[in-house]
Amino acid sequence: MSGPTSTPDGWLLDITESEDGRSIVLWVKSRRTGRVRRTAVEYRPPFLVTGPRPALVDLARSLAGRPTVAAVALGTGRPSLYDRRPRPVLTVTPMRNPERRALAREVDAAGQYETFSLYDVDLLPPQLYHLGHALYPFAPVVGTGAALTATEPPEAIEYLPPPLRLARLEVRLAGMRRGRLPPPDGRIGSVRLGEVTLEGPEADLLRALVDELARSDPDILLTQGGDSFDLPWLYRRAAACGLPPSEFSLGRERVGFRASRPARSFESYGRVLHRSASYPIPGRFHIDRENSFLYDDAEIAGLVDAARLSRLSLATVVRQSPGTCFTAMEMAHALALGAHVPWKKNRPEGFRRADRLVAADRGGVIFLPPVGVHDHVDEFDFASLYPHIMVRKNLSAETLECRCCPQSPIRAPGLGYRSCTRRVGLIPRTLAPLLARRLAYKAALKRPGLPAEEASRLRRRVKMLKWILVTAFGYQGYRNARFGRIECHEAINAYARELIAALLPEAERAGYAVLHGIVDSLWLRPVDLGRPADPEGFAARMSERFDLPLGYEGRYRWIVFLPAVTHGLGVPNRYYGLYEHGEFKLRGIGGRRHDTPGLVRRFESEVLTLFRTARDAAGVRALLPRALSRADLIAARVAAGDWPVEELLVSHRVGQAPEAFGTFTDSVAALRQLAEAGARREAGEVVRFVLLDRESRSFRRRVAVAEQLTGDERYDVGAYLDLLARDAETLLAPLGIDRATLLERWGGPLAPTRAPYRSPERATQSELANGPGPSGPFSPA
């Protein structure tokens, strides 16, 4: 662990691009005064082009002397990680930084998109400046300007984070509650900044805000929805009041207001998501909790850690996915190895025979758990299994099937892909320090007498790292991943499957029966309950045996594995259980999903509170009648029509553009209501509404959107009873409860629209046994 080598003068908060396009701006916070200083440094990073020498010579000739080109130089180098020997490289320096990409596209086009390979094109100048000058966000620094030097490396595990000043920013329109649809010319009535609330005539108020920003000088503005509302609204009204950028700016630099990235819809893991435009405020950071994937889990301490390691500005980290951070970390390691970052990944998947593909393209081991309530269950998880495998087996695009090690003994089970034994791959190089870091933080957390504040900071860093490590695997098989390769993805899975297969007989030998397993986790139950199991010992032995950290998560007092509604067999990732240490583990039940209305969450939390008292599986079953009477009470109140409508809001993420819907659904009704009120929603955005009349063909009568709720809407009783019954079925199906019976019991006006679910499992067993089912609907099993 490296401590600071000298006392820093301050911290480098951020590097931004300068308006002139020829330099970058360093923002350094003084340790003594706490003030932030702006220094511009001339910096125009080049990009590299490789290709046949004659073509490069021609290219150099055609580029030289162009007004958009500052310099061209032909030399040699090994820009690609795959390069074994030097080759001709053309270094192109654009005249202005914003023109890098356009110039690169011209070069690519000049080579018919195949003659040339380009490097370092889409790295941002601040990112390149960091990497080229051994700097990183939040580095403790000495010196100034071009001589700015970090006093410790970014990898330092124990470091003093800069004291960042946070201030909440919230804009309220005159005469409007927040969350309502703002009229297009809505005037700002008040602004809250930190502890101060500003009110008054709009222009005065905006000037007062600038003064207050200068006085309290926060580093971070924290908003709820600032990218989509607060910031654009402030600047729009400032313009309407005739305040020029020189008089109104939220940043530490007076620059014009424009989005650095437009709003867009995109797809991630099968979901369509939407990201608002973001507006830079140079010298400060704006964190919009609604537009940030990472903020909630990692908060500032984790984000600072991620920014340091990835060399990405906090402003970028906060709006991007952990995958972007991981890619940036890979880039940093690639540049440290003397390589450069390819612009477009030029490594198509090779053609393979279909049967080889079937054999290779498989995921981890995923069992179907036995549906029902179980007790005496021990859970074991491998910590960061996939990253550990990548490091142990040296799995990286350039080290897999390398030419230098035809006899390598490291081969992916069943697939035979070899790993290099001579050099460490980029992925393991990137991952190993992250794994070590996570372990170090976890160890530090166990230190006695750790101050609560430090502990929470460490926990956030651990969480952040976990996210980044999780993505590292996914990015191996992702077509846009810069250093990914599908065979790596396959090899990792192959090693993981082999590991679980080898672990099963060990578990049996230790006296366990295997109940369930998902990729890197196992749920085991002692075969002989009279013989005490030794879970800690088992975990320790296996960790040593397989050289991978198997952790004992704990014993469940009880755990319920839930069935699929369609076929009644267990669903791998849908269960809930109570550990002996008193914590719940909940997966795939309604309350954890985002679209669940408060009503359903309320019911679930009541059931879980009730089940918390159960010591074992029999205890859970004995509580079923009480759980049902809770459901009955809620249902009665819903049926009476006086459940508060705010708790009936259903959220739905819009999967496509509003025009693309072919059928009339609840969401379509909500979208039309919003559009009518002048608030169009795009694919990936969330609409929230209360169901008024599911049968209605009128978009006004079918739902009421959250933004226009009055509180005295009459909701669709049948629809909500059905929602409640569905959720009760999800939770309690293993105890013999089904939706149709519940609806009948509550006298719901709505008959189930699909055939009552019947587990073939239960049905066939009972029918073959010629007896009644193992559990009637309401008789405790």
Binding site: Y269, E349, A354, D355, L357, V358, A359, A360, D361, R362, G363, V365, I366, F367, L368, G414, G474, G477, Y478, R479, R497, A501, P505, E508, G517, H567, G568, L569, P760, E761, A763, T764, E767, L768
Partner: protein, 84 residues
Amino acid sequence: MGRTAPTYRQALEERMKRWDEFARLLTTPEERAAFDLVRSGARRYAAQATYVGSPDLLESILLSVLTDLAARIRPEPPERAPRR
């Protein structure tokens, strides 16, 4: 995510859609219950079939169904089947 081959589970579900046609002409509750049992048997061993990664879908389905049926015939083995 650019997956090029369906997973075993996807291939199985796709194939079983065809089985629905088969089931439509089953005439007694006993037959239909038995058919449900075959179906759940096919699904039950998806983890094992995925692990094998056989290019022959039917081989995996048959192994799954047979294992399920055999386990039901002798649900309590006289001695624990030893692992190889």
